[in-house]
Symmetry: C2
Subunit: 344 residues, 2 copies
């Protein structure tokens, strides 16, 4: 993960990490009910990186709600989204609980605990509207603040704005929700979009995917209002494409995470280039690619690994479209953010 | 992985990396036969770290042997042993080929290609016997040199040695074979053991597991003879144990790799300590544990992660026995290498 000022390029900076004291509702009674209903003997718990530190205490609290026979396991795998369920732990446990993300697809085997934030969004919204033009505004937020979405909308309408909201596509659970890889809910006619939520991860993707819109961040967690910008990312993407133009050998990465599979695209790219190898990989890190010694890589899994972590890799790491630009199949100015829509 | 002089502490330095020009037999005809027999449409290839660089060319050569309809995938997961089959790729492909390791358990779904070395072992053995006492000597080697094991034995016997060999346990495929986690084949009466093979990884484990024996390394790959020593490791282990004595909270890691599961031990340790959390994890790296923020960790999976990579973790990482020493259940001088026997 990149180590920046927290506003750009850090997959861990998703607003879940606690900047001030705040309590989540882990809904342990609901989890305990699922255990009882299924007469479960094993429970698996998965937490996003930002709240992993709470995992041991949550497991301990949950244990007090459960019969002695029940064994609790905490997933140690890295986690950055509902696209990334720990399928191994899910298979091996009777009840599997995923904290902090809303479902991408409803799955009978998974108890989703959304961890809604109890932070008050209105003070920072009051500040943010000073930076908006009167009239139409798109409104988006993250899973953590969905419990306040109606209130946000009313707040803006009460102040004379025409609020445009949209339910993105089937990858998104809620109207107005954004994911790190999907900003379809921001595709409204308004030329300005207000993002209410913590962290720099989501708004930077929002800006990358909507270069023609003004994106204002109202961050109630860090108590900051600022515009979102994709400029740094765009420069990095062009640099990576240029570097990859000299590549003779390519690795095409087919990600194996349950919600990050675009194997059809990966297979297609590998088939079209006789100097490309098809590589399957779960967690995509520089150390996993290092020993292959190829000149450049195309990542068909989570696009944020490419945009946010790309500069940390020894070789250029491109999105599928960037690859097509690098090999001359598309013009340089065609560059778009690699959104991930509807894929499971 | 540690970055040492190549003799100690590097899981990648297993003798598979090429120090001089050498060709492996990838047995592509045998793989192609398996594809034909099973009318396979998909083939998965897994390579150890040391020869990953060859993977794209091997895949490309194999492609020429196969019908066009067959899709080849290369596993991008880290690999350090037959304990660590890429089960996801294996499940998703009709034929799955594991290069460079001998089987731990025969599995119908896996084609094992051992990659025997064609290096001549006799010149370095001639040098090594100068460092042996006359009389009894144990003889061990790695999977790569098993094709020469009978010749090694005859070489020593011709020069007057009484050679003691042993088939370790069911984790080992061959008489005289060692694994990074299992040196049962060296448990012979002789007070000296000759290790013939490349790299520093296996002999350092051999020395850790046999502190009472003299272990001589005859490395035909790097053309070096030297004694194996566990001294550096033993010091590091004691340092880690001492540091962990102050720990209040513990993470007990249950590894999920197919041949590294000792979940019974992990569950037992977690059950006995109310300040211990049970964490499941595939690849055990510092970044995976970092966000849990616990004081110390016990690794029940591959012991070489603990001994070789341990110093790179932010918190002490102990073997199960070292944990018992740290919490006062066993005396300090009971310390033994954490061999991994017969577990699958």
């Amino acid at each position: 993960m990149t180590d920046t000022d927290g506003w750009e390029g850090d997959l861990r900076d998703t607003g879940l990490a606690l900047k001030h004291d705040r309590e989540w509702d882990y809904e342990l009674e609901r989890v305990a009910e699922a255990v009882t209903e299924q007469a479960a003997e094993t429970v698996g718990l998965q937490f996003p990186e930002g709240i992993k530190r709470r995992a041991p205490n949550v497991a301990s609290d949950l244990e007090a709600h459960l019969p002695d026979r029940v064994q609790i396991y905490i997933s140690g795998e890295a986690n950055f989204g509902a696209c990334d369920l720990d399928m191994d732990l899910m298979r091996r446990t009777d009840v599997f609980v995923h904290f902090g993300h809303s479902p991408m697809v409803e799955s009978e085997g998974v108890v989703y605990v959304p961890l809604f934030s109890n932070v008050d969004v209105e003070p920072i919204m009051a500040e943010a509207i000073e930076h908006l033009e009167p009239g139409e505004v798109g409104l988006v937020t993250t899973a953590q603040h969905m419990n306040k979405f109606d209130a946000m909308q009313a707040f803006l309408e009460d102040r004379g704005f025409t609020v445009q909201t949209r339910r993105g596509d089937e990858r998104l659970t809620h109207e107005g929700q954004v994911l790190g890889c999907n900003y379809a809910s921001a595709k409204v006619p308004a030329e300005q979009v207000l993002y209410v939520g913590g962290g720099g991860f989501h708004p930077s993707g929002l800006a990358m995917d909507n270069p023609e819109k003004d994106v204002i961040i109202a961050d109630p967690v860090n108590n900051v209002v600022k515009p979102a910008s994709a400029e740094k990312f765009v420069k990095q993407r062009y640099a990576a494409i240029h570097q990859a133009m000299d590549a003779e050998t390519w690795g095409i990465i087919a990600g194996t995470k349950i919600g990050q599979r675009r194997h059809g695209i990966a297979e297609q790219l590998a088939a079209e280039n006789e100097n490309a190898s098809l590589i399957t990989l779960d967690e995509i890190t520089p150390s996993h690619l290092k020993n292959f010694g190829l000149d450049a890589y195309v990542n068909t899994a989570c696009p944020r690994i490419t945009t946010d972590d790309g500069p940390q890799f020894d070789q250029p790491l491109l999105t599928p479209q960037e690859y097509r630009i690098a090999i001359g199949e598309e013009p340089m100015d065609a560059l778009e953010f690699d959104t991930f829509e509807g894929t499971w």
